[in-house]
Structure formats: structure tokens, C-alpha cells
Amino acid sequence: MRAEWLLVSVIFLGACGTTPKPVDPPRLKAALEAESDGAKRYQRGDYVVAGRRFADAMRQFAGIDDSIGSTRNRIHLARTHLALGRAEAALELLGAASDGATGDIDVLLLRSQALLALMRRSEAEKVLVAAEQSCAAKCPQLPSLKILQARAALADGRAAEAQALAGTAIKLLGDKDQAPETANAWRLTAAARLAAGDATGALASAQAALDIDRRLALPEKIAHDWLLIGNAHRYAMRDQVPGAAGEAAAAYSRALDVAHAAGLAEIATLAKQALQDVGAGKIPAK
């Protein structure tokens, strides 16, 4: 009992000793709290609820005529849509956030990301050119820009260019605390090397991506990394590397396990198909 009284007294004395802080208006505070809650959920991978909270925050900021807060949450929501695989919805939101040609670099990068997900390569390239012009000298978003340029190049069949751009991104990310982007750059390097026929290099890069994604506990990316590792081993089967088929099957099985456990139906189908191909002795053509 004494301890409780003592604690209460300390709290009151402490509060009395401090200068009263300027308090945010309740509506602004509620909007900021919704945004903060959404950001926490996004980091935890709870994208569905995060999206709801960002949408709430966006409405609340719009309701108090805070266009900066509203746009910021619109961008957060678009990012969440992209994480949920709803590229069209993201694009729609981003269209309202800027005019697309001269908008904020974050918006341009997200637009290009959505367009790449929708396989609209030429439009994505145009947006990336605009983004490059907006990113003066060494803007903080430069590594992300390089990764997206590498994605566009790889999607267009320019494997060497993709590999070079992803390599630049890895160098730029070297001293930064941006693990998800570093893993993305490694995954892209693996895919580019694989497209160029370098199975050994691809295997090392995919393994580097997997190590980071495992640390970040991102199931979808981990499953994709295992698929890439499986593909690299399958390419090694062409050079008759002993045990490559077994290694490929083991990697695809890991991808399948992760996909099943995380409820990723699309990746599970890919892994099953790949396992069947390995079982049937199918080797990718040179």
C-alpha cells in the first residue's frame, strides 16, 4: 500500500515539475494515431488492417484539411495495396496523389512498381525516366530507383543491364540500414544471373537474399528465394553437376512448405509444377 502511495506521489510530483506540453487538437491526434498504428501493422506484415488504418488516417487528415497528412497516408495506402498484390488499386490512388510526370519521387517509384507488377513495361520505363530526373545527384531513394530500373531491364530481357543496375543498388545500400531493399537487390541479381545463364552466381545471390529475408521473416520472399535456388540448381543440371536434381527438388520442396504454411497458393502451384518438372527430368533449354 505504501509503495502504491509512493508511486502515485512520484507521478504527481513528476507531472507537477514538468512544463505542460502543448496538446495536439484531438482530431489531429486521432489521425496521427491511426497513421502510427497502420505503420506498426505494416512493419508486422499485417497489411490488411494496416490498409484500413491508413485509409482512416487519410480520411481524418482530409477532414481537417491537412493535405500533407492526407497525401502521406494515400502513399502509405498505395504501398499497402502493392504489398497485397492490388497493383491497380495502388495505381488509382497514386494517380490522385500526383500527376505522374512531375510528382514526388516516392510517388513516381511506387507508380513504376505498380506498372511493373501489371506488366506495363513501357509505361513503367517512362515513369522511371521521370523519377531519375527528379532524383538529383544522390537522393535517398537512389537505391530503390536502381532496383526498379533493374526490374524493368530484366522484364525487357536485358539481363546484363539488370545485373549491373542491381549491383549498383547493392553498393549504394552497403552502408544503409535498408535490409528489405538489400534483399530485393540480391534477389534481382540472382534472377538476372540466371537469365544470363550463370547458375553458380545466381545460387550465391539467391542464398544472400534468402539469408536477409529469413532474418526479416517475410514468407512470400523466402518462398520466392527458394524457388530461385531451385531454378539455379535446375540450370546446373544442364552442365551435369552431380546431385543438382536432388538439390533442386529439395529447394522446391522448401518453397512448397513455406508457401503451404503461409497460405501462398500461387507460389505453391509454381513449386509443385517445378517439382514435377524435376521429377520428370526436364532440364531448361540453353
Binding site: E33, Q178, N184, L188
Partner: protein
Amino acid sequence: MSLLTQYDADARSVRRVTRRFLIIAILVTLALVVAIFVRQGLLRQTVSFSFVADSAQDIAKGQAVRIAGFRVGSVTEVNLRDDGSVAVSLEVDAGNARFVTHDARIELRKEGLVGSPTLEIVPGPDKTRLASAQARLAFSRADGLGALANQVRDEFIPILRDIKAITGALADPQKGLPGTLAQIRASSEALNVLLANGNRQVDGIGGTAVRVLGKAEEDLKHLGQMLETANQRLPGMLDRTQQVLDHVEKITAEAETSVPPVLRDGSAIAADVREIVSGAKQTWPISSMVDAPGPSTLKPDSDPRGEAGRAR
């Protein structure tokens, strides 16, 4: 001498002050005791009632007794009887005893189905007669989540049985779909043979044609019988399907009334908690210790779904 007189006067004064102090202290103590008695309800007039329950689960001494959600009394005693049942006594404020009709019943309810249990006195339809003091009232337990689950299970079991019976009837090799299909197949084969024969013998119509027509007539009659059989069986099947649909409709209607309150309650509780927490955060002195969150930034991730490494 004057010194002694002065001393006596001082002593009298001290005695007077002490006496006054003691009287005031006693009065204050008495006032405090009375206040405590009033606060504890020891001085209020109450009416006692009782009821018998099969179990003391969720019933405890001191538990609130409510009428229309208002606390009007409490449980005073819970005893195990010789026959294994539980005798529960409760007291209701005399002012509120006017709501306790002779046919009133006591219901054990849970706030929001999963909250703390309370006893609710539900007045009966006959408002002309009130329950007498010490009256024994009827008791029942409101359905909890477990009871609802059991109810849903009880509703589902007959449906599953019906589905099983229907699928069994359909799968019956003799009387079900396979049998009917086999008969149709046999008839169509017979008709095919008949047509083939007809084509072959088209030149020599005459007596043969008459026989063929006779055979065709027989087959058509057979087909007619089969269609009649199907016609007889279909209404039965449709009836059973209708019964199943009726069951489903009934459950849906019940779920419509029982499930939303559960969800509403859950959401209301969550909203209450959020409101309490946010209220506490805005209250001095806690408000001066809790920082309002600033604008958030998300870590850049240009490939949140790992699509860049997708197998091509």
C-alpha cells in the same frame, strides 16, 4: 495565592477545551460510522427473495442483482442443499421490490455473452400481484456461447443426415441415378438396334414393318414407364431438398438475430477499451508523459512481394 488562582483557571480552560475536542471527535466518528453504514447499505430497507439452481456456477455471494440493467440488490447467501441443488438468497432494495411480480423469474446472464455474470430479475406478465417477501422465484440461465454452439450443432446434424440420405438415394445402384441411367442407356441401345434394323429392312416393309412398329411401340411404352418412375421419384427428392433449404433458412434467420449482437458487443467492448485508453492518455498527468505520435515513414521496399525473382 494569585498564582494558584491563575493555575486553577488555566486547568479549567484546558479541561473545557479537551472536553470539547473529545465531543467533536466522537461526533465525527459517529458521522463516519453512519456514512459507512449508509454507503454499505446496512441501513437501507431490503426485501429478501430466493431461488434454487442446479449448480452454483457463475453465482457468488455479493453478486449484483439487476432489473432492466439497473443494480437493485445483491446475492446474500449461496448454500448447497441436501439434495445437491443450490439455494440462493438475495436482497432487493425495498424501493425496487415493486418490479418483482409473483411470476417473475431470475435469469443468469453474461454481459455480452462472454462478460461477467449478473442476475437479472425479469418481471412476469401478471403485474397485478407482487412477489411476497421471502418468495421463491423461478431461475434460468441465459444461453452462453457454448449453448449457442450446441444449438447450431443440433440444427446442423439433421441437415447432414438429410444430405447423407439424399446422396445415398442418388448413389443407389438399383433405384438411384446409376440405375436410371443404366435403364436409359439400355433403352437407347435397343432403339439404336431398332433403327439399324429398320434401315436394313426398309426395302422389305410389309409384315416386318408391322413387327418393327410393334417393337418400337413396346420400347416407347417402356420409356414412358421409366419417365413416370423418374417423375414419381423427383418430387420426393425435391421435397427433401426443400426441407434442407428450410433448415438452412431457419438457421440463417436465427444466426441473423443471435450472431450480430455478439459481434456488436465485441466491437463495443473494443471501442470502450480504446476510448478508456485514449481518455487516460489525454488526462493530466499522464498526458504530459505520453508523446503524441508524429508522422510515420515506412521502410522503402521496392518489391514487397518478391516478384522480381519470379520464375519465368
